[in-house]
Structures are given as structure tokens and as C-alpha cells.
């Protein structure tokens, strides 16, 4: 197998490409998209879905991939898979495709353990490197994590990571403590989840002076040790790139090669298979760079929720490993607590019965809500999952910046969780949603409200969603055919929902929050928002307008407390949302009042209008 490493680019004659096929093998569903050259422009024309088949009895990811592609073939009237179950390449007039690419998060994604000398310094940098590469960090071991050495060894023994990232010490700094960490790993001999024959990859990215000693300690038959540059060469600077690249390479060479069916899938693709979050991160950074804006993206999946942010050109990504809508739905309810979930529901539900429903979704993760009641509950769970994931992101995305960014020693020592987050909701320009519960919500208004309720954007913020969860596909396509990726991104991927305008601050219900005036082509409106109110103004996808807001004392819309501001708002499938609920968003504690408030917002935003049963309950 001659797979290119993740940071190599494969040469494809892009001028001849007419048909592109891309799949994303998620933990629950394999999603395929079909891109065609139509009148000289690349457009996404079809999509297909099938359950992912990494599990027994199938244990072959290609079955799910072929099923999703077969669905596309049927819809497009084009034969894409031959009699041997292989994708037909290159394309002819009636058959096959020119490029086939894939991303993957199936099989639980990439699971890593990281270690560093000091929890807040090298261990934190190692965690950032692993997360940036698209991994789930199972545990962080450090010399000061308050566990005794034998407890740390026991923990390493219990974990079944796909690989370990070991860091520690600045270059020329401590050697002893780094070697001590290696001495914990060597006797622990963690069992890999791919069987006893699997050589555990350990990436050492610590003090260069300790490489030799670390090499001696980890010179074991079951370890495949790789050395890269120190990820924290000096205290004031991180150098995460080499460690991230090595993680991607090891992911392809070791982890993917052991997952069921991936050896075949890797041979089919025209570019290296990327971890799904890595591909989404790439495309979001591209948007932020092209438009010069601050972006937050979220991808809520079945098992995990990924949050990506780009603030002042600094990229951060976090994975909330057990916040998701199917495999992890029970954990969301446990972490958030059921009353917190139910506060978003505007009617009464039986908690005991709901608990059973949640567990049934957990054990049968591919089911979808059929009734209106089930949908409202699932979207309530999603709000809590998103809220918790964003909270974790804010705590993690601190002023220590990504690759080769500078910070002062003083900053390092004053690093406090939550105190130095670089996430600034007032500076946020664009909030992008992706993942089943957001992308597949029956009404765009529901998607918009889930975002606003969970992320609490302040000032003027555009809202968009990934139309059919295409960002991973486009992230990897950008590496082989950037023109096609950007054309599809502009025309078919992002669906603008509209703009949210919200005031920061708190007040008394019914008292003035801000007055507003909206002017644009064909629109001239004004009004006043009281605290606790929401208003939806329909503004079409191609419409823009200028809004001028005059906040009451204590409220801020971006110009400062009580100061008048104005800015451009963009319409969308939902329109302009005026949010007078204040920030931080606080729902009434008393259940009846809370139900009433939520009910009012549901009505104003037309979230759940009566659905004409297009299919009767009984045929």
C-alpha cells in the first residue's frame, strides 16, 4: 500500500476532473456526496447515506461506503460501483468518477493518551497538539496531576489508546522528569485495542536533550517510538506542527490500517483519508482567512461534539468526547441533568419515560425522531450538549496560541481556566453549524435557535449551517482540488440562516433592552425590544440591511454599554433574529414561568408549527 502521508499533496490533473465522489465514514452514518462539473462550475448534485459498517457482523467500513455510494448511483442514474463492489474510475459518460476521497471518524475516531511534565504547561501543549490533529484525548498524565506514580501506571494500564504522545521539558530543561514519565509508560505496557500484535506508537515530542534516555527506557518490542521536535521548545512558545503531522501519519499507518476494512478503503482513495475533525478544521480556517473574520464552527455527532474557533487568526479545536446525540446521549443527560434538558421543552414530559427513551437511543443509535414530541426533546438535549461543549472549548482556548505563537512568561504563570479565554462572543462574526441534529432539523428556525440558545452570541452574528454535512468532504477535497472545493463551498455547502442581534447584560423582564431601526432595500422598520423578548424579521437569503441599535443603560451590542451601534445584517432562510433576552442567558427557574417563556419564543420564531401529517399514522 502506498498511502501518502497526511501532509503530502497528491497530484491530480484537475482540468480533466468532471465527477467527484466523497464519503465521510462517521461513527453512525456513512455520508456520500456527488460533485459534478455543470456548465463549467462544480456543483454538489446528489447525496447518499447508509449505516456505517465497522461493527460485527460486517466489520468492513467499505460496505457502508459502497451502500451510500450505491444510493447516489441510483439517484443520479449513474453506475458508480462495479460488480466486484469497487468504485469505478475514471469516469466515462455513464459510469464512475474521476476522484474519490474520504474522511473518517468511525470506530471511535483516534484515541490518544498524552503525557507532559507540568499539567498546565507541556502537558497542556501536548493535549492541544493531539486535539488539533483530530484526536480524542483519553487522559493526560503529568508529574503534578496529584496521582501517585503507581496510580498513574495503573491508569495507563487500563487505557487502551491508539497511540501515546509524550512531551515534557523545554529544550535543555528537565531531563529527569521526562525520563520519569517514560519510566511510568514502559512497565505499564498499555494494551492496544487492536490486539496484542499491535505495536503501540509512542511519539516523543519533548526536551531534545532527553531523546536518548527516553529512547533507552522505551526500547521495548511492543513500542514503535517516533521522535519529533519539542512541542514546547521554550516556555513562551509552542511548536505543535511537527507533533500534529506525526500524529496524522501514525493515524494512517497504524490506526486506520487496523480498523476493519480501512486497508481497502485507503487503497481506493485518491488522497489520504483524513480524520473528520481535521478536515472540518481546515475548511473553517480557510473561511476565516478568506473573509478576515472570527468564526466558530460546531460539529455535533453521535458520540462526540467538536468545536472549532478562529479568533484573531488563532485556531483552536476541542472535542467533547462524551457529548453526542446517540452513543453519548445518555451522558449528555447525566452531565447536564434532566431538569436542565427539560427547561428547553415547552410542554410537560414524563421524566421516567424520557430516561428510558434516552437509553433506547443510546443502545440503538441510528434511530431518528418520528414524532413532534421526540424531536423537541432531542433538540433540547442538543442545546445542552452544545452548551457544555462550548463551555469546555472556552476553558481550553486560552491566550496561549496555536502553532509557534508567542506569549510571555508572566502569562504562562497566570494561566487560569476560564480567565484567559480568547473566545469572545461579541467579536464573533460567523457561527457555523454542522452535524445531524443541526443539519437535519426539519426547519431552519430550529437550527438557528439551537445555536443561539447554546452559544449565546452577542452583538451582530451571522448564522449558517452546513447544508448536508459537506464540510469534511470539502476539507479533504481542498487538498486535491481546491477550485472544486471552494466552488461547491460557496454555492452548495453553506446555507445562511440569517443574523442574530443580541444585547449583553441583564435587566428586568418587560423593561427596555434596546431600540432598533432597520433600513435596506425594500425594508424600513423600527421598534423596541424589551428584556426577555425575541423577534423574528423575515429577511431573504440575498437581502442585506443596516441595523442601528440604541441599547438601554447596562446593555451592550458591541459599541460598549449603553452606546449606540450600527452594522450590516445579512438575511437568510430564517432572517433577522432580535434577541432581547440578555447575556448571559438565564431562563426563569420556576418551571411554569420557564415553560411560558420558552413557549413564547417558540411561537415568535415559528419553531414548531403544526405539521400536516404527510404520512398518516395508519396506512
Amino acid at each position: 500500500m502506498s498511502q501518502a502521508t497526511s501532509h503530502e499533496t497528491i497530484k491530480i490533473d484537475t482540468d480533466k476532473v468532471k465527477i467527484i465522489l466523497a464519503t465521510d465514514c462517521g461513527s453512525t452514518t456513512t455520508k456520500a456526496v456527488f460533485i459534478e462539473l455543470v456548465d463549467g462550475v462544480y456543483r454538489q448534485t446528489q447525496r447518499g447515506e447508509a449505516p456505517t459498517t465497522v461493527e460485527q457482523p460486517f466489520a468492513d467500513v467499505t460496505i457502508g461506503a459502497v451502500n451510500s455510494i450505491t444510493e447516489i448511483g441510483e439517484l443520479a442514474g449513474r453506475k458508480l460501483v462495479d460488480e466486484n463492489g469497487r468504485i469505478i474510475q475514471p469516469a466515462t459518460d455513464t459510469e464512475g468518477c474521476d476522484i474519490y476521497i474520504s474522511t473518517s471518524s468511525a470506530g471511535g475516531g483516534l484515541q490518544m493518551m498524552v503525557a507532559g511534565v507540568i499539567a498546565e504547561m507541556t502537558a497542556a501543549s501536548a493535549k492541544r497538539a493531539a486535539l488539533g490533529a483530530g484526536a480524542i484525548v483519553m487522559d493526560v498524565i503529568s508529574s503534578n496531576d496529584k496521582r501517585r506514580p503507581h496510580e498513574q501506571i495503573q491508569r495507563i494500564r487500563e487505557l487502551r489508546p491508539d497511540m501515546i504522545l509524550l512531551s515534557g521539558g523545554t529544550d535543555g530543561g528537565t531531563t529527569e522528569k521526562v525520563v520519569e514519565l517514560a519510566e511510568l509508560i514502559a512497565p505499564a505496557r498499555p494494551q492496544p485495542r487492536f490486539g496484542s500484535e499491535y505495536e503501540m506508537p509512542i511519539i516523543y515530542a519533548g526536551n531534545a536533550a532527553a531523546q536518548e534516555k527516553v529512547g533507552e527506557v522505551l526500547d521495548e518490542g511492543w513500542i514503535d517510538l517516533e521522535m519529533v521536535e519539542n512541542l514546547r521548545p521554550v516556555l513562551e512558545r509552542e511548536n505543535l506542527g511537527p507533533a500534529r503531522d506525526k500524529i496524522h501519519d501514525v493515524f494512517l499507518e497504524h490506526v486506520m490500517a487496523h480498523a476493519p476494512g480501512y486497508d481497502r478503503l485507503m487503497n481506493w482513495t485518491d488522497a489520504p483519508i483524513m480524520p473528520t475533525p481535521g478536515a472540518v478544521g481546515d475548511i473553517l480556517q480557510q473561511i476565516a482567512k478568506d473573509q478576515g473574520i472570527n468564526v466558530v464552527g460546531v460539529d455535533i455527532g453521535g458520540a462526540t461534539t467538536d468545536v472549532f474557533s478562529v479568533f484573531d487568526k488563532t485556531f483552536n479545536r476541542t472535542v467533547s468526547a462524551n457529548l453526542g446525540m446517540s452513543y453519548s446521549i445518555s451522558n449528555v443527560c447525566a452531565e447536564a441533568t434532566m431538569p436542565s434538558v427539560l427547561r428547553w421543552v415547552h410542554f410537560d414530559m414524563n421524566e421516567r419515560e424520557l430516561r428510558n427513551r434516552v437509553k433506547n437511543k443510546m443502545i440503538r443509535p441510528t434511530t431518528i425522531p418520528q414524532s413532534h414530541e421526540a424531536l423537541v426533546f432531542e433538540q433540547a438535549v442538543a442545546r445542552e450538549a452544545l452548551r457544555l461543549a462550548y463551555q469546555q472549548h472556552k476553558e481550553f482556548a486560552t491566550t496561549l496560541k496555536g502553532v509557534q505563537q508567542q506569549r510571555t512568561v508572566g502569562d504562562t504563570f497566570s494561566q487560569q481556566v476560564g480567565g484567559q479565554t480568547i473566545v469572545d462572543n461579541m467579536a464573533l462574526n460567523l457561527l457555523v453549524a454542522s452535524g445531524g441534529v443541526l443539519s437535519h432539523a426539519p426547519r431552519m428556525e430550529q437550527t438557528a435557535m439551537m445555536l443561539v440558545d447554546a452559544f449565546e452570541p452577542e452583538g451582530i452574528t451571522k448564522l449558517a449551517k452546513d447544508s448536508i454535512f459537506m464540510m469534511p468532504h470539502l476539507g479533504v477535497l481542498a487538498a486535491v482540488h481546491p477550485k472544486a472545493a471552494m466552488e461547491v463551498f460557496e454555492r452548495d455547502c453553506l446555507v445562511y440562516l440569517g443574523t442574530n442581534v443580541a444585547a449583553k447584560g441583564l435587566g428586568k423582564p418587560g423593561k427596555k433592552c434596546f431600540s432598533w431601526e432597520l433600513n435596506g432595500e425594500g425594508i424600513s422598520e423600527s421598534g423596541e425590544m424589551n428584556f426577555g423578548e425575541m423577534k423574528l424579521i423575515r429577511l431573504g437569503p440575498d437581502q442585506t440591511a443596516t441595523i442601528t441599535c440604541d441599547p438601554a443603560r447596562g446593555f451592550d451590542l458591541g459599541a460598549g454599554p449603553g452606546k449606540k451601534m450600527s452594522g450590516e445584517v445579512r438575511g437568510g432562510t430564517v432572517g433577522l433574529i432580535l434577541d432581547g433576552r440578555g447575556r448571559p442567558l438565564a431562563l426563569p427557574e420556576e418551571r411554569a414561568a420557564c415553560k411560558g417563556a420558552i413557549g413564547g419564543w417558540v411561537d415568535e420564531l415559528e419553531l414548531y408549527p403544526k405539521v400536516e401529517e404527510a404520512i398518516p399514522a395508519t396506512v
Binding site: G107, V358, K359, I363, Q370, A374
Partner: protein, 375 residues
């Protein structure tokens, strides 16, 4: 499209089932190919390296790490008992010597000049792998384990708690939809695999634990009862390592739900037979479902028309179970597979199928919300 793919649980009256019995690390395999084994027979054995205890002698003796080796009174590879002296400083003119005793019993594995740390390995931990099912060894994987083949009844549950166990099957409920209550569990069910019908109540679980039942298998259970039983709210479905003294398997799901009639009948037909049960469930990478295996006697013949497993194509006439509210747990037959997506009550658009229920009623269900079962 006349059919669609959907996964399902395996329920079969006659299945050739192979169990791979593997050691976590290399060791000795104690059986040969062709050997008949009982569920409780040990088929492989090894010793896991003992727990590791680092002892930082440099810190404890206030020495530079490089001085530690010359102060050792024991060498690498030596066995030491708790309280035995590991190292002693030279002191000043032979006076004021400081020594460090071993805090644990074990073997000295390494001593580092860089860190001054001594790694002590505790006594080896014996590991035995049992056959788990009665059957015949069909393959030996040298130093690693073996494969045991058995023929008989095989059922996959949807969710379980607790690890491998075995016992004879005892039917506690008279019908597949009868709730499993404590009064149905008797003292003579000690060591048995107790089969209920519908929901297993918390009191019934408590009673089964009290009489010493090996396992309880029933249609459903209430999540609140599971929480009370475990003592915590289960966040993700990765189970099997619980040490509650009993293995629980639910075949259908959470709530008041009856066991599928066919599953109940299969187990009832094997009442009194030895069954192997594993509650381990992992609904993530490499999905694992709980299972009940009832090996057939050597004189039994295959039951005709019941082999194969439930997977693959969703076609008209195939029996399915609805796995989501508002029809959760209801069983019927596929009566139609409309090609075009349809709008659901939730407002979502999805591909659907028509299911004719046993009651005669027909309902439309998203394709994602059914699973195939054997007819």
C-alpha cells in the same frame, strides 16, 4: 429500490458458534484441537506482570540520582519483601547512615541513574481463561488461546451488565410479556440463568441477587432501576466489567417491554439446559452485544429452517421490530418500501417503510427505526 439494508440482532435456534478465547498476553494453552471442553474448563493460563511501584530512592535518601546505584543493597532482578532494606547511604565516616526499606513485596525491575527511581514489580497475577461455552476446540493459537466451537441456540440481547457466567436455564415467567417480579424467583434458582418475560423490576433483580442466580434475562428494564442497581447513571454503553455478582441481559430495550415471542420460546424450549451468558455490551467501536448461548446436546440434530443470522436486506414480507417511539417494541412485517422520502410527524423528511403489525394495523415508520428479526 425494492429493498434496503438494515442491521439486526442475531436470534437463532441452531447456530454454529465459535468463541475465540484469548489470553491478554502470551501464555500457555492447555487444550488441543478436537478436545471437548466444558464451560468452566480452563483452556489457557498465563501470569500477568504484577503491579508496578516506583520508589524514588534519590528523593527518599536525599541523594543525587547518579549516587543511587552504589547505595543499593539489592540488585536488579532480586526479590524483596516488604520491610527489607533496599538501599543504604554511606553516611559520614560510616556514621549517620540512612536506609530505605521496601514498601512492597516484589522484584526489582530497574534502577535509573537519571531519575534515581527504582521500579519494583509486585508478584505476578495469574490469569486463567475458561472455555466459557461447552463445545469442541477447533483451533489452537499457540501461546495465545483457542477457538471453541459449539452448536445450539444463540440469542443476542440489546444491552447487558456484568461479564461471562453460566448456569442452567430456569423460566420464571409463564408468558413472554409477563413482568418479572420478585415472587417469581425462588431459592432453588441459585446458580441458574433466570429467564423472565417483560420488564425485570428492581425488586426482582434484588431477589435474584439474593438467591444467587447467575444471570437474569428478560425483555426490558427501567432505566431508573438500572441506575439504582449500579449506583450511578450510565453515560455511555460500555459494560461488562461491573462486579455486581450477577449478569443482566435485556433483549429488547428500556422500559416496560415484552421479550420477543420467538426469543422467549427458544429459551423455554431449552429449559434445564446449561447456558453461557455474557452481559458485556459495547456500543461504539467494534459493537459488542450481550449474548446467551445454549449448546445443544451431542445427540441433538440441527433444527431445520432456522439457520443464518438476521442481517442485510429489508424486503417485503420480512419480520421487523420497531425500535423507536411511538411504536417502540412493536413487531410486524414489511408491507411496503416506498422509494421517495416522506414527511414524518416531526416535520423531518426521511425514507420510510410500511409495516403491517400483528394486530392487522399498518403503520409508516422511518427505515432507520426498524431492525430485522428472524421469522
Amino acid at each position: 429500490m425494492a429493498h434496503a439494508y438494515t442491521p439486526g440482532l442475531k436470534v437463532s435456534s441452531w447456530l454454529d458458534h465459535r468463541c475465540k478465547r484469548m489470553l491478554p498476553i502470551k501464555g500457555d494453552v492447555l487444550v488441543e484441537v478436537g478436545q471437548e471442553v466444558d464451560a468452566n474448563d480452563v483452556v489457557a493460563h498465563t501470569e500477568m506482570p504484577g503491579d508496578v511501584y516506583p520508589v524514588n530512592l534519590a528523593n527518599l535518601l536525599s541523594l543525587p540520582p547518579s549516587d543511587v546505584p552504589e547505595c543499593l543493597v539489592k540488585s536488579e532482578g532480586d526479590q524483596v519483601k516488604e520491610g527489607e532494606v533496599l538501599a543504604q547511604t554511606k553516611g559520614i565516616f560510616g556514621m549517620m547512615k540512612k536506609s530505605q526499606k521496601s514498601p512492597y513485596t516484589g522484584t526489582i525491575e530497574t534502577v535509573s541513574e537519571v531519575t534515581g527511581q527504582l521500579i519494583l514489580r509486585g508478584p505476578a497475577i495469574p490469569i486463567q481463561v475458561k472455555a466459557y461455552v461447552s463445545g469442541r476446540v477447533v483451533e489452537v493459537l499457540p501461546e495465545e488461546g483457542c477457538v471453541v466451537e459449539t452448536k445450539g441456540t444463540y440469542l443476542q440481547g440489546i444491552f447487558g451488565i456484568g461479564g461471562e457466567t453460566n448456569g442452567s436455564i430456569r423460566m420464571a415467567c409463564e408468558r413472554h410479556d409477563q413482568k418479572l417480579t420478585p415472587d417469581l424467583i425462588t431459592d432453588d434458582m441459585k446458580g441458574c440463568v433466570v429467564v423472565g418475560g417483560g420488564q425485570m423490576t428492581d425488586a426482582a433483580i434484588e431477589r435474584a441477587l439474593q438467591v444467587g442466580a447467575a444471570a437474569v434475562v428478560s425483555g426490558g428494564m427501567d432505566d431508573q432501576d438500572l441506575r439504582d442497581f449500579l449506583g450511578y447513571d450510565l453515560g455511555v454503553a460500555i459494560t461488562g466489567s461491573e462486579r455486581k455478582g450477577i449478569t443482566l441481559v435485556i433483549t429488547e430495550g428500556f422500559g416496560d417491554i415484552a421479550m420477543a415471542g420467538r426469543s422467549y420460546d427458544l429459551l423455554k424450549a431449552r429449559e434445564g439446559c446449561q447456558a453461557s451468558v455474557n452481559g458485556a455490551t459495547q456500543i461504539r467501536a467494534g459493537v459488542m452485544r450481550p449474548e446467551i448461548i445454549v449448546p445443544a446436546g451431542s445427540d441433538e440434530n440441527p433444527v431445520s429452517g432456522s439457520e443464518g443470522q438476521v442481517e442485510g436486506l429489508l424486503e417485503p414480507g420480512r419480520p421487523v421490530r420497531i425500535i423507536r417511539d411511538p411504536y417502540f417494541g412493536v413487531i410486524g412485517q414489511v408491507s411496503g418500501l416506498p422509494h421517495q422520502p416522506a414527511v414524518l410527524g416531526s416535520g423531518s423528511k426521511a425514507r420510510v417503510l410500511e409495516v403491517k403489525l400483528d394486530s392487522g394495523e399498518s403503520v409508516v415508520i422511518p427505515r432507520a427505526n426498524v431492525e430485522l428479526i428472524e421469522g
